[in-house]
Symmetry: C2
Amino acid sequence: MAATGRLERVMPIGALAERTGVKVETIRYYEQVGLLPPPERSEGNQRRYGRRHAERLAFIKHARDLGFAVDAIRTLLRLSDTPGIACDEAHAISVAHLGEVRDKIARLRSLERELERIATTCSGGVAACDCAIIEALADHGQCNHDHH
Amino acid sequence: MAATGRLERVMPIGALAERTGVKVETIRYYEQVGLLPPPERSEGNQRRYGRRHAERLAFIKHARDLGFAVDAIRTLLRLSDTPGIACDEAHAISVAHLGEVRDKIARLRSLERELERIATTCSGGVAACDCAIIEALADHGQCNHDHH
DNA sequence: TCTATGGCTATAGTGACTATAGCTTTATGG
DNA sequence: CCATAAAGCTATAGTCACTATAGCCATAGA
């Protein structure tokens, strides 16, 4: 008895992992650090997940893929559980993160340019070279680039 | 006696740190992991560095600033100690690293675009919003972007 | 000689997982 | 109905490249 609905949506951790693309160990880790609430357990103490967990984990994965820190995600999740005034804070978090991403892009671009310079100075195989790459690394003065 | 030259170039770890912009703790860490050879010690067991160490540390710092992994730097340093055939391998390392940097830039650009979309959908403060940012994170289907 | 500053070692903490060891549970086929 | 293989469990340690702490010792300048 106690009919559980037409479709049994409950699944073990491996199925959730496969469905969301998050590794089993990582799911357990997210539970441990309080991102994912502890699910029900089977008689034999194994985790059993439902649709809600799958959705929450998808949220977490998406945010992590976007580079949000676990701590920021904790806040975003809290906001998503409190639909009222969520917007302002969520907006601030995204904007701050966007700023960080843009910073990182700018820094990587400047590294790209210097690496290009370094890597093309000596194209390898040349006997007379001893070695431009290593010299470039040794002598920062050659580079007009401020790694801050 | 035992004249040490016109100029005493020997310095303690703090001076080396200041000169190179690498923190004291990080210098000791580099020694521990075998990037920087153990220097001479004073009577009282304090590290005393010379020009060679400063140069090697500058090499390490520059390479780290460029995003080379400590392991890659170990190889580059080995190559720079073996001037003969160094070039090919150094070139390969730089080119591989340049590839990684370009990958990272591409991924960050696509994140930038999605974050822009997310952050501008709801500009904050709007009462009717509940909340576009959080919905965007919850529903990956909205995003035409493949985080791989 | 006193003292402020700096240096020493050893150990633990960071973030976000990942891996391992040594068990127990569950699903499936005979 | 039971054996077995696959999957799950906990607890702990390892990863990378540092960073921080505690508690002690050395050095330089007044």
